[in-house]
């Protein structure tokens, strides 16, 4: 009898803490829908310059909160990787480098095979290179990591090596005094 009570209590606890699979799926879909619908509404506003004014930093923070909610609820899901990526990018855009770096690092650690891995590493390197105060040791760390990536395009590799060779220069000085190879190549 005692065992039965224990078992029942445990089962009940398990159901309450984890929810059943249908509920979980529904919650997952709901959190995802909250993100995509919000992103769609922001994208629609963006199309019209008059309406784009409605995209305030508060709207971006609302999007971050929705992305965080998904990441917290389903941290192992591949969509959580996209959430972390977007959180990193939005924080950089909002000029919050500490938060941006934390989410970028978390993404690299939890999803080492993430599709946009190269971009995340480059973004982290740039964050330490361009935001004041510069941290050249961290720039070196991320750019060297980038150079080790097997899928890095040849031109990107060349650019990163050139930047690493002149880390004594700030971004602006690098443009002004940097190699003339910059000129005329387009973006």
């Amino acid at each position: 009898m005692k065992n039965t009570i224990y078992l029942s209590t445990f089962s009940l606890f398990f159901i309450f803490s984890c929810g059943n699979p249908t509920e979980q799926q529904s919650k997952q879909e709901n959190l995802r829908e909250r993100i995509t619908s919000y992103e769609d509404s922001l994208a629609n506003l963006q199309k019209d310059p008059q309406k784009a004014a409605k995209i305030t930093s508060l709207a971006q923070i609302e999007l971050i909160n929705r992305l965080k909610a998904y990441n917290q609820a389903f941290p192992k899901d591949t969509f959580a990787a996209d959430c972390l990526f977007k959180i990193h990018m939005i924080y950089e855009h909002l000029r919050a480098p500490r938060e941006a770096r934390a989410y970028g690092d978390t993404l690299l650690e939890r999803f080492p095979d993430y599709k946009n891995r190269l971009l995340v590493i480059e973004s982290l390197g740039s964050s330490y290179d361009i935001n004041a105060p510069r941290d050249t040791a961290m720039v070196r760390k991320y750019y060297n990591l980038l150079l080790k990536e097997p899928k890095i395009p040849t031109q990107k590799k060349k650019d990163i090596k050139a930047r690493l060779a002149r880390l004594d220069l700030t971004f602006e000085d690098y443009i002004l005094n940097g190699n003339s190879g910059l000129v005329g190549q387009g973006n």
Partner: protein, 199 residues
């Protein structure tokens, strides 16, 4: 007289500009030249550092933002048709409201336009071209133009508001501007040494 506009990379654009007083030589001529330069380049604002003078002066004329008659009224453009002013020794006393995104460009950084987030409203004190003191509030596009130009006299460019990755991705285009490897339809001077190339 149309003056050459200095391009991205010129140290004068990164320097905090100095206040001036009424003894500043040929100020009225300088202001007239700045308006002529701005209109020629089809700009809505021009700060003195952009013509190589590190002084706290900028001019604005937001009338190109005014609504066309058949357009829906844009609340951000209210009053912009008469927004032509000279700001000498301005101080932004206060900025308020939520930050909003707007695609900005700059005569010193031709061909690049990016979204920049800035606050909605501001309170500014300044002297006009007759050395009359003003304290005024602005919002919408007028505030946006002022904030952009005010940044210039603080040594800040709109690209400084972009995310590092975005700025890094613009590296080559910014390099091309610095070194004059671009085509513009107004007079420019390039710190990287090339002579201006007009189209």
């Amino acid at each position: 007289m149309i003056l050459p506009i200095v391009a991205y990379g010129d140290p004068v654009l990164k320097k905090e500009a100095e206040e001036i007083d009424q003894s500043y030589p040929d100020l009225q001529k300088l202001i007239a030249d700045m308006f002529e330069t701005m209109y020629h380049a089809k700009g809505v604002g021009l700060a003195a550092p952009q013509i190589g003078k590190s002084i706290r002066l900028f001019i604005v004329d937001g009338s190109p933002f005014a609504d066309e008659e058949d357009d829906e009224p844009d609340p951000m453009a209210a009053g912009i048709e008469n927004f032509k002013k000279v700001f000498i020794n301005p101080i932004i006393e206060e900025e308020s409201g939520a930050k909003w995104a707007f695609q900005e460009g700059c005569l010193s950084i031709p061909g690049i336009r990016e979204n920049v987030h800035r606050k909605e409203k501001l309170l500014i004190t300044y002297y006009d071209e007759n050395w009359v003191f003003h304290e005024e509030s602005f919002d919408g596009y007028a505030a946006r133009i002022i904030q952009h130009e005010y940044d210039h006299i603080e040594g800040v460019l709109f690209t400084d508001h972009l995310s590092p990755l975005k700025k890094k991705l613009l590296l080559k285009r910014l390099g091309n501007i610095t070194h004059g490897a671009i085509q513009v339809d107004y007079k420019m001077s390039f710190p990287g040494g090339k002579k201006p190339r007009m189209i």
